[in-house]
Structure formats: C-alpha cells, structure tokens
C-alpha cells in the first residue's frame, strides 16, 4: 500500500508543475503592466519602477518563473498587491468555511444519491425509478444561485427556519451546522442528482453480473448481496463522479458564498477580481488547482482501496 501511495504522490508532482506553469503564463499574457494598473495613470515613472522592483517584475521572465515555482511548491504565494498581507494568511483565514461547505455538500450528495440510485436500480422502470430519473434531471439543471435563492426565499424569508446570513462562528459547532444547512442543500443538489444517476446505472450493470447470481445461489441474504456485493463493484464509477464533482463544487461554492453571504475562497476571488489583485488571483488559481489535484489523488487512492487489482498494476 505504501508503495502505491508513494507512486501516486510522485505522479501528482508533474501535474502540479504543469498547472503552475499554466497559471504563470495566463497571468503574464494579460495585457497591461500590473504596476501601472495598481498605481493608476497619474503615477510617476519612478514610483512605477519602484513598484516593479518590489513585485519582482524587473527580473527576467525565467527568473520570475523559477522563483514562482519554487516558492509555490513550498506553499509561499507572496503577498496581495492590494492589502500587502500574505496570501496564505488571507486564504487560510477563510479556507475552513469553504472546506466545510464543500465537504458537507459532498456528503449530502452521497447520502441522498447512493441510496436513491440503488433504490431506482432495484425497481427499474417502476414508479420510483421514473421519479428518480425526472427529479435527478431537474436537480442537475439547477444553477447553484437559483437553487440558493429559492431555498432562501422559502426557508429563510417565508418560514424563517434558517438565518439569512450564513457566516458562522467556527468554534460554535451547533451554529456552524445550522448555518450550513441551506448552502449545503443548494450546492449539493447537483451532486446528489449526478450521484443518483451514476449509482443507478452502475448498480444495474453490477447486479446483472454472474457473481451476484452466485451469491444469491449460495444463499447470501438479498440485502447483503445488494449493499456489499453489488455496491462494492459499482463503486468505482461512483467514486469517479464524486471526485470530478468535488472540483465543480469548489467552483460553484463562489455562487453559494455570494447568495448566502458566507466568507470563503469565492468571496476572496470576487474581491481580487474587482480590485485587479494579480498576485492574489495567481495564488488563488494555484490553490484551487492544488485542491483539485489533491482530490484526484484521493480518488486514485480510493480506487486502490476498492479494487485490489488497481493497486497491483
């Protein structure tokens, strides 16, 4: 197992460097001198030159690239062009909120999607199956901000069960969970819909296999056949979809954070965009990609746990 984990970890390094390179290129091909953008048209040439030196823009592209990659690999993304504070500190302060939301939505998606998908597969073309298919199609058509606004209208403004403001005290777990409910449902809806569909089709395939018939023939209880023999063999596509959608959840958390007025990475990125804070944007892009690379790594490792053949390769 250790060897498998190490191999996977090593394989993630080139991807990470490629991502860093792409981010570096994207930020550099933007028209306009960042120093000029920050200081405005009225700035003196001396002031602009001084800022360029401070930002390291006067060095050669190779030198900038090299120092960007090496410091990013040790988790140093420099300071925000606007506030002058360390990017890692600014991100670190709100990251727990975004992670809370993403994880909660992922769990919501799995808890709803897997049982409903199995149920639908077991009653193929029955009422449950048709209902699940229609509802999942509806669920995955909801843009996050639309589901968020509808939930807010119904449960916060009409029935007043949940607060309108979503920012919670991190040390008060009850409050944290209570304020997480609506954003989680809004963000997790699409995830639940996709997982339902994938679970249904993966289960249909797995339940048609010979080992299911063998298990039934030797008298294994049906419940165990479904949840152990069937589900374990259906879980590779499910894990794949969960891994893929965690990335989408991270992206969509921007919208959830706006609608529910929660602090988080999304709030920072929108702020950085409005203020043209290039170093912050560069850092955020890397952090988002880093999170996705980590999720992909976990997905890969899970393949190994679910299916021993993957590990042996």
């Amino acid at each position: 197992m250790t060897g498998f984990v190490l191999r996977r970890l090593l394989a993630a390094v080139p991807t990470l460097i490629a991502v860093l390179t792409l981010v570096f290129i994207i930020v550099r091909i933007v028209p306009g001198d960042p120093a000029l953008v920050i200081l405005g048209d009225q700035a003196t040439p001396e002031a602009i030159a001084a800022l360029r030196t401070r930002l390291g823009l006067d060095r050669s592209l190779w030198a900038q690239y090299f120092s960007f990659i090496t410091s990013a690999l040790v988790g140093d993304f420099g300071v925000s062009m606007v506030t002058g504070r360390s990017i890692m500190a600014e991100v670190g302060a709100v990251l727990p909120h975004t992670i809370d939301l993403t994880l909660a939505s992922m769990i919501f998606g799995i808890v709803i999607g897997v049982p409903v998908g199995i149920w639908a597969a077991l009653h193929r073309n029955g009422v449950v199956d048709v209902a699940a298919r229609v509802l999942s199609l509806l669920g995955l058509s909801f843009p996050v901000f639309v589901s968020g606004i509808f939930l807010l209208l119904a449960f916060s403004l009409h029935w007043r069960w949940f607060p309108v403001i979503g920012s919670a005290d991190l040390s008060d777990y009850g409050d944290r969970l209570h304020k997480l409910v609506l954003p989680t449902v809004a963000l997790g809806l699409v995830m639940a819909a996709y997982i339902t569909r994938v679970t249904r089709s993966a289960m249909l395939q797995s339940l048609g296999e010979d080992y299911i018939r063998t298990a039934r023939a030797k008298g294994v209880p049906w419940r165990r056949v479904v949840w152990v023999h069937g589900l374990r063999n259906a879980s590779i596509p499910i894990v794949t979809v969960v891994g893929l959608y965690v990335g989408i959840l991270l992206g969509n958390s921007v919208l959830t954070e706006i609608v529910f007025n929660r602090p988080g990475l999304g709030k920072i990125i929108v702020g950085a965009l409005n203020q043209r804070d290039y170093t912050m944007l560069q850092g955020l892009m890397v952090i988002y990609c880093f999170l996705i690379v980590v999720v992909n790594l976990i997905t890969d490792l899970l393949y190994g746990v679910i299916d021993p053949r993957v590990k042996a390769e």
Binding site: L137, F145, F150, L157, N252, L255, I258, M285
Partner: protein, 292 residues
C-alpha cells in the same frame, strides 16, 4: 470510383439516423424539445413580440407585481420583466451556442488529430488537456472574463476554453478505435491522404458522440453564462441577461421576490430542456442501450 467510395464509406450515418428516430419517440426528449423551442422562439422573436422595450424605464411603475399590464411585473427601474427575459434569452443563447460551437470544433479537432497520430504526441496533448481540466470551469471562466473584460465575445472565449478539453476527450477515444478499422486501412491503401481519411472517413463516425456531448454541454454553457452574469461578469448593464436580472432581483428580494424568481426559472427551464434533449440523444446513441 463510386464503388470504391461505397467500399470505403463508413457505416455510421445509418445508426445516427436510427438514433434520431429513437430519440424522437422518447417522451423526455419530446418535452425537452418543446421547452427549448418555446424559449428559443421567444428569444428570436423578442424584437417583434416583446410587449415593451427592455430598456424603457417607467418610474411610476417601479417594482410592480405581476399583473395584466405587466405579466411578470417590473423591476426597480420600472422595466418590464417579461420583455427583458425575452431579450436576455438572446444573450444566453448567443453566448452558449457560440462557445459550444467553438469548443466542439477546436476540441473535436484536437481529439481527432491527437487520437489519429497517437504515440508521444497524443500523450503530451492529453496531458495538456488534463491540466486544463484541473481548473474548476467556473473559476477558469471567471478569471478569463475578468482579465479580458466583460464583453460578449470574451464570454464566448471563456466558456469555450472550459469546454475544449472534454470535447477533445470525447473525439479522441472513438478515433483511436476507428483508425484500426478496415475502412480506414482501405482508404489509406487507395492512396487517400491522412487529411482526407481523417475528415471524410473518421469524422462522420464520431459526429454523433460530439453532437450528444454538444447538447449536454450547451446546458452547462447556459449555466456558466448565467453564473458569470450573476457574479457581475456578464454582458454589461443595461443589456438584459438572465444572470444579471437574477442578481438585481436578489438585491431586492425583500421587496419584490418575483424579480429573482422569474429569471431564475427561465435559466432553470432552458437548462432542463437542453438536458432532456441531450439525455434522450445519449440514450439513443449509446450502443449498450441500443438493443433495448
């Protein structure tokens, strides 16, 4: 010459036609097509059938609830919501269709060529596509629009950029399988150029996959465009966009909840309609389901 043409002709188009016929008989697809046609008609015909000018402000009728005069009510400037929705649909559809068309052509060509050439080149191209995929699409779109400026063409570029890699993947896999098939070999043996084999013989065979993908990604494109406008990075006001209208409504949610609800529903219905069509097409073209 006609006999060799027949010999070399790929077998797919017949399957594609059968798939279309099958998709038509599926009730979900039919409902989806109806939804899409209604929304597209409303958007295309907006200049003639919209009851009011979408930019006309009427300060005596601000924040009116739905009524016989204003079917879906008015916004904070007294503009008619229904008319703005019809005009906003034009932006949504133009941006999404443009982006998916561009992504399908560029991504499709990348996948086709990469899969056909194979080897190290293919490995490298797919690695680049994987890197592109490791950005969350909304974040990538957000940054591209923010850097280029919120113009219609930049929205098309940003959304297309997020969809290129998936199209490349979808085009590559069948190309790799097809290039081993006898009709490709026959074409090469007859002295056809690689370009001709690629575009005349392989391309028609992967069109159904690319088109199904296109319909499903169109739904995603509509959602991303709406999301960007909601964040404030869409086509600039006073042009009506569904996402922008939802945002305006959201800011007035206590006084006039319908302001956010109607554009939200418009986005939901269009995405749902496209998903229904795409789903039906996919089921009809899926070889695993073909014999059901």
């Amino acid at each position: 010459m006609s006999t060799t043409q027949e010999l070399v002709a790929p077998p797919a188009p017949a399957g594609w036609k059968r798939a279309l016929g099958k998709a038509r008989s599926n009730p979900t697809t039919a409902v989806g097509v109806v939804i899409c046609i209604i929304i597209m008609a409303a958007a295309i015909l907006a200049p003639w059938v919209a009851p009011y000018d979408p930019a006309d402000q009427d300060i005596f009728n601000r924040l009116q609830p739905p009524s016989a005069e204003f079917w879906l009510g008015t916004d904070q400037f007294g503009r008619d919501i229904l008319s703005r929705l019809m005009w906003g649909g034009r932006i949504s559809l133009t941006v999404s269709l443009g982006a998916i068309f561009a992504a399908a052509i560029i991504g499709g060509a990348i996948g086709l060529i990469s899969g056909y050439i194979g080897g190290r080149f293919d490995l490298f191209v797919m690695q680049v596509m994987d890197v592109l995929l490791s950005f969350p699409s909304l974040i990538l779109g957000l940054i591209v629009v923010a850097l280029l400026g919120p113009e219609l063409i930049n929205l098309v570029v940003a959304i297309a950029l997020t969809a290129i890699a998936p199209f490349a993947r979808v085009a590559r896999a069948p190309t790799m399988a097809l290039k081993e098939r006898a009709f490709v070999e026959a074409g090469r043996a007859l002295g056809f150029s690689h370009t001709r084999v690629l575009f005349r013989h392989i391309l028609p065979n992967i069109m159904s996959e690319v088109m199904v993908m296109g319909t499903l990604w169109l739904a995603t494109a509509v959602r991303v465009e709406a999301s960007l406008s909601f964040i404030g990075l869409g086509v600039k006001p006073p042009t009506a966009t569904w996402g922008g209208m939802t945002r305006d409504g959201f800011e007035n949610i206590l006084d006039a909840p319908w302001l956010a609800v109607f554009p939200g529903l418009a986005i939901l219905f269009l995405v749902l309609g496209l998903n229904m069509v795409g789903d039906g097409l996919r089921d009809a073209t899926d070889p695993k389901l073909r014999n059901e």
